[in-house]
C-alpha cells in the first residue's frame, strides 16, 4: 500500500475511479489511519482531521472534509498528484506491478516455482547438526539411521525425515514448578516440604524418540513417584538432615533409573538434587523453638565451662601463692609467721576505726556508724564472710 508520502498519495484510488464513495474523501481515507505511522506528525491542531498532504500547496491545508464533493476532491487531487517516476511499471488494477520479463519474453513464474521446489529439496537433504545433537532419520516412516553432529546428507523431504534432538545437554525438571509447598509424608507420619530438581539426558535416541508417548512428562511422573517412595522410608529427622538428604537423592536417582530402564525410555538420570527440605510452614515456629533451645543449651554449657575455667585458674593461683609463701615459711617458720601477723594487723588496724575492748580488739567500727545508730545489743549476731577468698 502506498505510504502517505508516496507519490500515490491517498487511498489507493489511482485510476480505479470512485469505489462507491462513502463520503470519505481519499485525502482523509488515509488521513484517519491509526497514528503510529512514522510519518504522521504528532501534536496537530485539533481541527485538522489528518496529516498535511505534502503535495498540496503549502499554507492552507486540505479543505475541510465533507464540504467538497468527492468529485471535486478527486479532480483537485488528480491534477496535483502525478507521479514523478515511481519505481514500478505501469500499475494494473490488481495492484501488482508486472514482473520483469525474461529476455526471450517468457514469464519467470515457472522457473521461480521450480527454483523454490529445488530449494526445498536441497534444504531438506542437507542437515547441519551442532556438537551436542543427533538426528533420527526415518525413511518413509521406517527408522533407518541416526546421524551425528556435522553435515549429513539424506534423501529430501518427504522421503526421509530427520528429527534433530540435543542429546548431550542435561535437561532439568523442577518439582514443584512453583513456590507452593509440596508436603510429603515421611515414615514417622510427619510431613516435609520438599522441592527438588532432576537432571537427565538422552542415552538412547531411538528409544527416546519412539518408545514413550510423552518422555518428558514421564520423567516428571517417575520423579514424583520415586521421591515419594524414598521419603516414605526415612524419618523426618533424616529427611531434614544433610546426610539423610544425600541418601534420599541417591536413592531417588537409582530408583528413577530402574523405572525408566524398565520402560526402555532411553533416558539417563544424571542427578537428583534436593533444593529445599523444610518442615511445613505451619510448624515452623515449633522447629525454630528447638533451634533456640539448642542454642540456649549450648550457651548454658559454655557459660559453665567458662566458670569452671575461672574456678580452676583461681585455685591454681591460690595454691601456687600459698606454695611460694610456704617455701619461705619453711625456711624460717617463726619469723615469717610473726612478720605476716604484724603486717596484716598494721594494715587492718590502720584502715579502720578501732575499738579496743577488755580482752583486746574485738570490734572494728567505722565511727560515723556509731553516731548514727543506736548502741548494739550485748551479744550481737555474727556475720562473718564465709567465702573462700577475698572478693
Amino acid at each position: 500500500m502506498a505510504g502517505r508520502n508516496s507519490p500515490w498519495g491517498g487511498g489507493g484510488s489511482n485510476g480505479g475511479g470512485n469505489d462507491g464513495g462513502d463520503g470519505e474523501g481519499p485525502a482523509d481515507g488515509e488521513g484517519s489511519a491509526p497514528s503510529g505511522a512514522p510519518e504522521q506528525p504528532q501534536g496537530e491542531t485539533p481541527e485538522r482531521k489528518g496529516p498535511r498532504n505534502p503535495w498540496l500547496p503549502s499554507g492552507d491545508g486540505t479543505p475541510p472534509r465533507r464540504s467538497a464533493s468527492i468529485e471535486d476532491i478527486f479532480r483537485g487531487r488528480a491534477e496535483q498528484r502525478r507521479p514523478g517516476g515511481g519505481g514500478g511499471g505501469p500499475r494494473i488494477p490488481g495492484g501488482f506491478p508486472n514482473l520483469p520479463r525474461r529476455p526471450d519474453g517468457k514469464s519467470w513464474l515457472p522457473l521461480g516455482i521450480g527454483a523454490a521446489v529445488v530449494a526445498v529439496l536441497a534444504i531438506s537433504s542437507v542437515h547441519m547438526l551442532g556438537p551436542k545433537e543427533q538426528g533420527v532419520v526415518t525413511t518413509l516412516g521406517k527408522y533407518s539411521r541416526t546421524i551425528d553432529s556435522g553435515v549429513s546428507l539424506t534423501l529430501p523431504w518427504p522421503i526421509e525425515r530427520v528429527k534433530v534432538v540435543d542429546v548431550s545437554s542435561f535437561q532439568v525438571v523442577m518439582i514443584p514448578d512453583n513456590e507452593n509447598e509440596k508436603l510429603m509424608l515421611t515414615s514417622d507420619k510427619s510431613l516435609v516440604d520438599l522441592s527438588y530438581l532432576v537432571r537427565w539426558n538422552i542415552k538412547g535416541l531411538k528409544d527416546y524418540t519412539f518408545r514413550l508417548a510423552d518422555p518428558d512428562e514421564t520423567v516428571q511422573e517417575v520423579a514424583e513417584a520415586a521421591m515419594r517412595a524414598s521419603i516414605a522410608q526415612v524419618s523426618l529427622g533424616e529427611a531434614l538432615s544433610g546426610a539423610g538428604r544425600a541418601q534420599v537423592e541417591q536413592d531417588v536417582g537409582e530408583r528413577m533409573q530402574r523405572i525408566l530402564d524398565f520402560y526402555r525410555a532411553g533416558i539417563a538420570i544424571q542427578g537428583v538434587e534436593i533444593k529445599k527440605a523444610d518442615p511445613p510452614a505451619k510448624t515452623k515456629g515449633a522447629f525454630d523453638n528447638v533451634n533456640v533451645a539448642q542454642q540456649e543449651a549450648e550457651r548454658d554449657r559454655s557459660e559453665a565451662r567458662a566458670w569452671a575455667q575461672q574456678v580452676i585458674a583461681r585455685a591454681q593461683g591460690d595454691a601456687t601463692a600459698f606454695d611460694k609463701v610456704y617455701e619461705e615459711y619453711k625456711l624460717a617458720p617463726d619469723v615469717t609467721k610473726r612478720r605476716m601477723y604484724y603486717e596484716t594487723m598494721e594494715r587492718v588496724l590502720r584502715d579502720n576505726d578501732t575499738v579496743v575492748g577488755e580482752k583486746g580488739v574485738n570490734t572494728v567500727l567505722p565511727l560515723p556508724e556509731m553516731k548514727r545508730r543506736p548502741a548494739p545489743a550485748a551479744d550481737p549476731s555474727i556475720s562473718a564472710p564465709t567465702s573462700t577468698g577475698g572478693q
Binding site: 526415518t138 525413511t139 518413509l140 516412516g141 527408522y143 533407518s144 509424608l185 515414615s187 507420619k189 510427619s190 510431613l191 531411538k206 519412539f210 518408545r211 508417548a213 514421564t218 511422573e221 517417575v222 514424583e224 513417584a225 515419594r228 517412595a229 520402560y263 511445613p280 510448624t283 515456629g285 515449633a286 523453638n289 528447638v290 533451645a293 543449651a297 554449657r301 557459660e303 559453665a304 569452671a308 574456678v311 583461681r314 585455685a315 591460690d318 600459698f322 610456704y326 615459711y329 617458720p333 609467721k337 605476716m340 601477723y341 594487723m345 594494715r347 587492718v348 575492748g357 583486746g360 580488739v361 574485738n362 570490734t363 567505722p366 556508724e369 551479744d379 550481737p380 562473718a384 564472710p385
Partner: protein, 280 residues
C-alpha cells in the same frame, strides 16, 4: 511451457491420476504407530504391530499398500501410554485416610481387538481410568496406614497392576506399570499431623534445655572438685600454717577500709574467726 500442456493434455491428466491413485493406495506407517486396515468397519490386517524386543528399523514400519476407497486405515499409538488417575481417598485398615494419586503405563498390544472394543487409544485411557481408581482404592484399603506409605515394598502395586492388566486385556492393552505418584493427608488429618509434629518439637526443645542445664551442672561440679583437689594438694602440706596464712588474708579483706562506709561488724572476742587476732 503452455505448448507442452496443450500438446500432451491427456498424458498429463493420466499421469496425475496415476500419482493420485498411488498416493491413495499407499500408507506410510511410522515407527511409533500401528496401522489397522479396516474394510467396511471390519479390521482385516495390521501393519507394524507391537512386538516386544523388536529393534527399530526391523519393524513393520514403512510403506504399505491398501485398496483405495475400500479400505480405511486406523492409526494406533504404539508407544507407552499413560493413564493418570484422579486423586482417590483410601481408607486404611486402621481407619486413617490418605489421598492417593497414581498413574499407570500401558501399551496397545492387540490393535485389532482394541479397534473392535474401544476404537481409539483415548477411549482406552478413558475406560481404564475409573478401573484404576477403584482397584487402587480396594487394594490399598486392605493395608495399614504405615504399609500404605511404603506400598512399593510389598505386593500391593503388583496386585493392582495385575488386576488392571486383566481389565485392559479386554481392550487389547497391556499394563506395564502402576505407581503411586502422590500420597497426601486429607485436610483434617493434615491439621492433626501438624499438631503432633509441634508437640514432638516442644518435647524435644524441653529435653534439649534440660540436657543443657544438666551438662552445665556437671561441668561446674567437676570444676569445683578439681579446684578442691588443687587446694587440698597444696594446703594439705601444713594445715596449721594454712590456717594462719588464710586468717591473715581473711582479716585483710574483712577489715579492709570500706569506701562506702556502710559496714558494721560486731564480733565477740571469743569468736573463732578472731583466733589469730590474739595469737599468731
Amino acid at each position: 511451457m503452455s505448448n507442452i500442456w496443450q500438446d500432451y493434455k491427456a498424458a498429463w491428466i493420466a499421469a496425475g491420476a496415476v500419482v493420485i491413485g498411488l498416493m491413495m493406495s499407499t500408507i506410510v506407517v511410522s515407527e511409533d504407530e500401528q496401522a489397522v486396515v479396516v474394510q467396511t468397519g471390519r479390521p482385516v490386517r495390521v501393519y507394524n504391530p507391537f512386538v516386544a524386543n523388536a529393534d527399530y528399523g526391523q519393524t513393520g514400519a514403512g510403506v504399505h499398500f491398501r485398496i483405495p476407497l475400500v479400505e480405511q486405515v486406523i492409526r494406533i499409538d504404539k508407544r507407552l501410554l499413560s493413564v493418570d488417575m484422579q486423586q482417590q481417598q483410601v481408607l486404611s485398615t486402621d481407619q486413617q485416610r490418605l489421598n492417593v494419586d497414581a498413574y499407570a503405563r500401558y501399551r496397545i498390544i492387540d490393535p485389532i481387538k482394541m479397534v473392535r472394543s474401544a476404537g481409539t487409544s483415548d477411549r482406552v485411557t478413558q475406560q481404564l481410568e475409573p478401573i484404576l481408581s477403584s482397584v487402587v482404592r480396594q487394594e490399598l484399603g486392605k493395608r495399614t496406614f504405615q504399609s500404605l506409605l511404603t506400598a512399593e515394598r510389598g505386593q500391593a502395586m503388583d496386585n493392582i497392576r495385575k488386576l488392571l492388566d486383566r481389565e485392559a486385556a479386554e481392550y487389547g492393552a497391556q499394563v506395564v506399570d502402576v505407581r503411586i505418584k502422590r500420597a497426601d493427608l486429607p485436610e483434617g488429618a493434615l491439621a492433626a499431623a501438624f499438631v503432633r509434629m509441634e508437640a514432638g518439637r516442644q518435647e524435644e526443645a524441653k529435653t534439649i534445655a534440660a540436657q543443657g542445664q544438666r551438662d552445665a551442672q556437671i561441668i561446674r561440679a567437676d570444676a569445683e572438685a578439681q579446684a578442691a583437689r588443687i587446694y587440698a594438694d597444696s594446703f594439705g602440706k601444713d594445715a596449721q600454717f594454712y590456717d594462719f596464712y588464710r586468717a591473715m588474708q581473711s582479716y585483710s579483706v574483712s577489715f579492709a577500709k570500706d569506701q562506702a562506709g556502710g559496714k558494721t561488724i560486731l564480733l565477740s572476742p571469743d569468736n573463732a574467726y578472731l583466733n589469730h587476732f590474739r595469737e599468731p
